[in-house]
Structures are given as structure tokens and as C-alpha cells.
Symmetry: C2
Subunit: 209 residues, 2 copies
């Protein structure tokens, strides 16, 4: 298989210095890339800024903004069998970016934030026989939100995890299919979950073709 | 000498996942700590989240928010001869932090941002014979803004650098004193600038006592 993997956070700049982001370490996505390579498949990694080194043997594309991640993925997705979208993209971006650095004036400022491009939904629209595995990081109504996300974005499966996952070495996840059923449940080191996930895809991803 | 050093970015959370921050790598501050130790002095490092490992031999305090950085520095500053404030603190924070994760609804949201605690100004208020060296990252009216910052925050000296410094290995800086004079000018690797800065302080910091 040839699998596209997104990983890490994205950044949306307020001015030339400050941005909105999250603490995603990229650990889950990089572990998945490692597991894909270890299982003898091809991995294409599209990653936001993290401190990890891309696994040796993957095709690596560095991005910073959500828009860059989307454009890069749209270009690569048609060449892959499927995508595992483990990145924690910014869902919001400032409506406009200020040039230079906003100076402190002693008063509050108001920041209007619009939604960013939706990378997963964009890939969902160009699905065409490829499979799509999304990640949902949910803090409330977890299963319901994850399932809505799966459907809205045209995913085959979605991995549900919670904010505790961010930047951690361990994770506890459920894999949901598009009927809302939990088809797998893994807990432990992200490296181990990555191996289990890739092994699961080797068995099950062919069925959607 | 016993020197307090701040380094790295701080983070101000919008909700349980998203925050405002900047791309500071901590490289300048960590290089300064290394140079202090190498010159035979004591270094106390108060650092926001970075991917670097604290230099062996320093006293290390990890913080995340600007408020944590301020409180930690206020507790440590009286035990030190001076402070080198190389951290790139968030100047703004959301007025309130949302519990959980803000869900996308398809519409824009408005974020009110207030100024964070001012770490350097807080230390300036408790100066009392200690010396204070600040950093100013300025994108426009650089020298004027840096000098205003020095005076407003009761610093002895301020290092002026520009947004290109962020996360870079190299830097170009000017050291200004409280008369507005450029007393040093360094360019090159941050590790080299750190050594020059510490050597400069060894000669000049005693004069303010």
C-alpha cells in the first residue's frame, strides 16, 4: 500500500510573530508512518512543525498552515491508496493577518476568527475509491461528535481520542466505522497503537475498494 | 554570578486544546545558560515549552503560561545577581478560557484578548540593586520601541532583535543601554552571541551595583 499520513499541528498567524496552534507533538502520526514502513508499505508524511525527525524511508512534506497542509494533501492523495489524517489542524484562523507585530497599548483587542480550510473534508470530496481514516479529538459528546465528523467528511473510519492524547506518549482510542460501530479499541504506547492500526488496515482496507 | 534566564515561548489557552503562542525555539536563552555555566557562573533557567534539553548544570524550572513564568521569576529573582529575559512571552491572552474544545459551527467567532502579565516589568519593580537585561523583538520603529521598553520596564540594558531571530540558529542584535546608546553589536550564531553577551556582562554588570 501507499499511504498518506498527516501529522502534527498547524499554525495560523495573528501577526508576524504570534499564532494560534495546539500542543500536538506529531508522535501519533510519526509512529503511524514508522509502522507503515515497518510493515513494508510506502508512507507519505505531510507534517506541521514538530520537533521529531521524519522516519527514514518516508516521503516527507513540511507545512505550516492548514491551507498548505490541504493543498499538499490534495496533490498527493490521488497517488495513494488511502489517507490517515492524524494531524491536529487549527480549526480557526484570524480573519486577517497583521503585518509586523501588534504593539501592546494597555487595552484589550478583539480578534475575529474564521474557520480554516477543512483538510479531511477536502479529501473526502475527492475520495473516488481511496479510503480515508480520520482522527477526532473530542472533549465532549465524544462518540456522537466523532461519528458526525466521519459522515460529514466522508471517512471510512475515524479514530476517536481525547485531549489527554495531545503530546502524550500513550493514548486510548476507539476506531469507529461509518455505521457507528466500534470496530477496534486500543490503549497503550502510541507506537503500539500505530502498529495495531496498520495491521488492522492491512486486513480491512481492501474491502472498501 | 548567579543569573536568572528566561527562555522559549509561553502559551495562552483559548480552550483545552488551542492556544496562542509563537515559534520561539528557546535557542537564544539556552545558549545563554550554556555560556553562563561555561564561564563558571550559576544559571537558573525558567523556560516555556521547547524541544531542547536544559543544559547540564543549570537549575531548571519548566513553565507554560506567562503567569507561571512571572510567578516563578518573582520567586527566584531576589536570589540572583541579575536576569537575562530572553523568553518570547505571549503579550496577549484570551480574556477567558473555554472549558473543553470549541466545536466548529460554520460561523466566525470573536475572541477578546487582554494583555498578559508583564514578566519584565514585574521584575523591574523589584529591582533593588539587581541588574536586568531584557530582549525586545521589534518589527517596526525598532530602536525607539526597544528603548521605550527598556525604560518602561526599568531595565539596565536591552537586546534588540527582529522577527527573523525566531527559531533561527543565527541572530543579529544590538545591545542598548538606558541612555539609548548602542553599547555592543553582535551577529552570528546564537551560541557565539551568547558567549559575547556573558563576557560583556562579566565586565559591565558590576558597575550598576
Amino acid at each position: 500500500m501507499r499511504i498518506l499520513v498527516t501529522a502534527g499541528p498547524t499554525r495560523e498567524y495573528i501577526d508576524d510573530v504570534r499564532y494560534i496552534s495546539n500542543a500536538s507533538s506529531g508522535r501519533m502520526g510519526y509512529a503511524i508512518v514508522q509502522a507503515i514502513l515497518h510493515a513494508g508499505h510506502e508512507a507519505i508524511l505531510v507534517s506541521g512543525p514538530v520537533s521529531m525527525t521524519p522516519p527514514v524511508g518516508c516521503e516527507y512534506h513540511a507545512v505550516e498552515s492548514t491551507e498548505q497542509m490541504m493543498q499538499t494533501c490534495q496533490a498527493l492523495f490521488p497517488t495513494c491508496d488511502g489517507v490517515i489524517a492524524a494531524a491536529a489542524v487549527c480549526d480557526y484562523q484570524p480573519k486577517s493577518r497583521v503585518s509586523g507585530k501588534i504593539s501592546k497599548t494597555g487595552t484589550a483587542i478583539t480578534l475575529e476568527m474564521i474557520e480554516t480550510d477543512d483538510v479531511l473534508a477536502a479529501l473526502g470530496k475527492m475520495k473516488d475509491g481511496h479510503w480515508i481514516l480520520g482522527f477526532a479529538l473530542e472533549a465532549q459528546n465524544e462518540r456522537e461528535n466523532a461519528l458526525q465528523k466521519l459522515r460529514r467528511k466522508n471517512c471510512n473510519w475515524i479514530v476517536l481520542n481525547r485531549p489527554e492524547a495531545i503530546a502524550a506518549e500513550n493514548n486510548t482510542v476507539e476506531l469507529l466505522d461509518n455505521t457507528g460501530q466500534t470496530v477496534a479499541h486500543w490503549t497503550g504506547l502510541k507506537t503500539k497503537i500505530a502498529e495495531d492500526l496498520v495491521a488492522w488496515l492491512e486486513v480491512n482496507s481492501g474491502q472498501i475498494k
